[in-house]
């Protein structure tokens, strides 16, 4: 028999999963998540049709660059914004948050259930996309080269690194956006501030860099790439002071937990007053 709070977290999880996965409102998140899959698959199909020679090294570099500059910084960032900010703020706008607030459930447990639902949903969407992106990218190279990469190269470690970075990005950005949705009436302003902060992270002093999610994620990316598109993108993607994974992973999880604890204090004090929203 589960303790009561576990039963309640699971009940919130079930309710939220329905809303997150089957809402028309979330369509753009799927679009954002699976855009690289379409791009890579298209590239492979066109390459095969035109009979181009596959270039595994270039593919690996392109994948690493797009993963860092687009997937982590934009797709997962905005995907988490869409999912996590709506967990509380969306319910206030829909005038349905009282459904939860009228149940005999600790507000902290409610927050945990909602966060878990958001994390499960975004992790499922974005890790699925990561796997499909890898499949799409290396399709043209063929199974023989790819299995060689897995068995004799660093394939497994790379894939695990990308999947790990994806999951941690969802957890890290998720906690921040959930807190923003709870703390701010208009969450677009903090979202814009966070986006700017994450974007200028590479230009900040070393100490300040550590107060961002992307700093830890860059440290976890298996391939450090220097894009050929210019110095600006190179600065964005290169981590001059990378943190070892054994510090980066628990560090990010601890920061996320601290943010959620702060949000839970606010949820505890939250009032239902739809008229002023």
């Amino acid at each position: 028999m589960n303790p009561l709070w576990v039963t309640q977290v699971l009940a919130v999880l079930r309710l939220e999963m329905r809303k997150t996965f089957f809402s028309k409102r979330g369509f753009w998140i799927y679009l954002l998540a699976f855009a690289p899959v379409a791009l890579y698959t298209g590239k492979s199909i066109v390459g095969m049709k035109l009979g181009r020679q596959p270039d595994f090294g270039t593919d690996t570099n392109v994948f690493a660059t797009v993963f860092q500059l687009f997937y982590l910084r934009l797709a997962i960032f905005f995907g988490c914004l869409g999912v996590f900010m709506n967990l509380f703020r969306g319910e206030v706008l829909d005038k349905s948050l009282h459904y939860y607030f009228l149940a005999p459930i600790r507000r902290e447990v409610l927050l945990a259930g909602k966060f878990l639902a958001g994390a499960v949903a975004t992790c499922l969407i974005f890790t699925t996309s990561t796997i499909l992106q890898i499949a799409g990218m290396y399709w043209q190279d063929g199974w023989r080269i790819f299995s060689d990469y897995l068995m004799n190269g660093n394939g497994f470690a790379h894939i695990a690194g990308y999947l790990g970075a994806t999951v941690l990005a969802c957890v890290g950005y998720g906690s921040i956006f959930l807190a923003a949705g709870v703390l701010f009436r208009n969450p677009l302003i903090p979202a814009a501030v966070i986006l700017v902060w994450e974007s200028i992270n590479s230009f900040l002093p070393s100490l300040l860099q550590k107060f961002s999610v992307i700093y830890y994620l860059k440290s976890l990316c298996p391939i450090q790439v220097i894009p050929e598109t210019g110095a600006f993108f190179a600065v964005l993607s290169v981590n001059t002071d990378p943190m070892p994974a054994w510090i980066a992973v628990p560090g990010l999880l601890l920061v996320s937990a601290a943010v959620l604890v702060a949000a839970s204090f606010q949820v505890r004090r939250m009032e239902i007053n739809y008229a002023t929203e």
């Binding site: 009561l4 809303k19 829909d94 459904y99 939860y100 009228l102 009032e271």
Partner: protein, 314 residues
Amino acid sequence: MRANDRIVFENISKFYGDVLGVNRVNLSIPPGITSLVGPNGSGKTTLMNLMTGLVRPSRGRISVLGIRPDQPEELFRYVGYCTQFDSFPKGFTGYQFVYSYLRLYGCAHAEAEDLTWKAIERVGLLEPARRKIAGYSKGMRQRIKLAQSICHGPSVLVLDEPLNGLDPLVRAETIALFRALADDGMHVIISSHILHEVDQISDQVILLSNGYVVAEGQIRGVRSEMQEHPMQILVRCNRPGALAAKVFEQDSVVEAQIHKDGLGVLIKTRDPEKFYLLLNHIAQNGVTIESVAPADDDVNSVYEYLIGGEEASR
């Protein structure tokens, strides 16, 4: 059952920024049906939201059966609240609405299912329970909210305008349900604009105006304390003219008006007890009294006297 059976407001004030919600409210509500009566903006919903912790008081203390409203994990084991909010989680059927609430409550699947069907049956929504709430009429939505608020067997039931949108038959059934719940020892707190219904079902009333409690208690008790408004009593008899002449022997009678159908007299008196004694005497002296009934000790009259005709008609 908890040892403390009262809902207590101690010097409660609530401000929404500069706007007054309620001010200096002191109440001690016993079990039974208690109606909150007042025009829009008088503070009825604020009081209900305060006692259920949906909003927090700016000042003062509240306890519901000894529990503070900022402890939802304990409060809602004993309290059910049927709000005025007419929004539901998207895509839910009536059944899912109640069932999911019970899962949040902590019930296992089988127990939640059993309690869900019992609550839905109690509000008469068995047939449409599997349909989406988005397709429900206003009355059906009211009833499914009521089912959700009673499904876990609360000791306190808070109902914000629960009769809105119900047709007359369902309205009568719902009132009977409230009566049955109150007779079982439950607190039933109702807010309503429909004064004659409030009068019909309430054990006590709380009259609100502009955020202040202007009167509370049993409606007849409240009425008898209003000395500046003489009590109106309609006496049906065979000789209204003779009766009208006789009643003026008493100083406390300030007005006697022959009823427009000519079969009774409407009397205004400052001392009803003394008047009833006089009436006994008159009955023994040739006037046949058919009925005696107070004409203005209902909520509507009290409300009009206290708050004013203009607001009462809102």
